[in-house]
Amino acid sequence: MQTDQTIDKNKPRVLEARKIVKELGGSRVLDQVDLILDRGDIKVLIGPSGSGKSTLLQCLNLLHIPESGELYLDSRPINFRKKSELYLLRQKVGMIFQEFNLFDHLTARQNVAIALRKVKKQSKKMAEQRAELELSRVGLSDKVDLYPAQLSGGQKQRVSIARALAMDPEVLLLDEPTSALDPELISEVLVVIRDLAKEGMTMLMATHQISFSASLAHEFVFMEAGRITEQGAPNVLLAEGAGSRTLDFCSKISEMTGAQA
């Protein structure tokens, strides 16, 4: 199903962060960050290293608990102090890590199935069927019995995407999903992400793949020093002579990576 990318005022709000503050090691990594994701939104986080992109993503599924601020899932406030709410939110807000973080002792199939069994209490058979379905969606039907150590980086990342999708998340957070990959393995992961976008998955992705994300994103979110400093449609922010910090940053990346970006 192809989603209509024009702005729909009636799109339901999926995830909203208000005034998120996070401190790590005594320094303020996130400073009053607001962010809204409506259903089907694809937003891309860009900005220099250390600007807080990764921390923001980890706060949005509460792997990091913010010092202050509010988080709403489906317009319902989440109580950070209640473990049951943390677990539920994390199921609904999937996370893709730069380093894949697959479970080394489990096959691809088991990697996807284990949370279905442990968290959703599905039977082994049901969980493994779902796992096979998700792995076929990312083009890995023939790798279900392989262990992470037997897979390439691109394949590992696709398993990790299948693992997140199996939980039926409402939002997918992607933390530089291609940064740890050899250049020739990047495209297989980007293809999967593009398919997800076509299916209308709500996504927030930190990445340095500027041209790819410009073709996909409804909005660029530029972060610097723990704050969101610019936010807008990529074609506006990247327009010739826009004078935006985003344009400045992106052209520096393009100079370094050449045609790729």
Partner: protein, 233 residues
């Protein structure tokens, strides 16, 4: 050849007696290793992931049982602590004045301290990013530790655990000091009666050697059997 046969011939008549001690040794070591495992795994988890007071308590336990020689522990527990506890009416049902029970408890608690360290190291060698990934899928910390961290950590522990087995096996010979009728105690008895210590002691040594060899070999097989495919640490 004839000389060797003559040398070991005094053993022949007392083999059943010596082997009854072998049986006691096997049960003692199995009990101690089992208790050590039952203490070591949860204590290691507490040591790595637990709240501070629990971590300190486990650290104190480890320091005590690593710091005091097993021989001293046997005396302290059997003639001291357990004898004292045994006087309490509530505890009179427990076999506290039983030497075998005391020996299994002491060896088990001592190896539990070492096993805590073994499993702690193994847990730390599992990438903690996997724990993060498990939590990101909605698993509780407990679920993530049990189904993601421990299955890998236990695999990594097998070589060190096998080493620990060989040490506990040999430490179990010290249980004769509190009167446990294990292999060494039986050997000493017949050696004293026959006035021929050397063949009996050599024989006991050979049995300990074979038990070590068999156990280490079995654990090596287990290690290969549960090895993760394609994985090199």
């Amino acid at each position: 050849m004839q000389e060797i046969v003559n040398f070991f011939s005094p053993i022949a008549g007392s083999l059943p007696f010596v082997f009854s001690g072998l049986w006691v040794t096997l049960v003692l070591v199995a009990g101690a290793m089992g208790l050590g495992l039952a203490l070591g795994i949860p204590f290691a988890v507490i040591r790595v992931y637990g709240p501070a007071p629990a971590r300190w308590a486990v650290a104190a336990y480890v320091w005590f049982f690593r710091g005091v020689p097993v021989l001293v522990l046997f005396y302290l527990f059997y003639f001291g602590l357990l004898a004292w506890l045994g006087q309490m009416a509530l505890l009179s049902l427990l076999p506290l004045n039983n030497a075998f029970f005391a020996a299994a408890l002491v060896l088990g608690m001592a190896t539990g301290a070492y096993q805590t360290q073994i499993f702690k190291g193994a847990i730390l060698s599992v990438s903690q990013e996997q724990l993060k990934a498990a939590r990101s899928l909605g698993m509780s910390d407990f679920q993530a530790i049990v189904s993601i961290v421990l299955p890998q950590a236990l695999r990594f522990s097998i070589p060190a655990w096998s080493n620990e087995y060989s040490i506990v096996l040999k430490d179990s010979a010290l249980a004769y000091v509190i009167g446990v009728a294990e292999l060494m105690s039986r050997t000493r008895s017949v050696a004293a009666i026959t006035h021929k210590p050397l063949p009996f002691t050599l024989f006991a040594g050979l049995i300990f050697f074979l038990l070590t060899w068999a156990g280490v070999r079995a654990l090596k097989r287990l290690e290969q059997k549960v090895r993760i495919k394609g994985y090199t640490q």
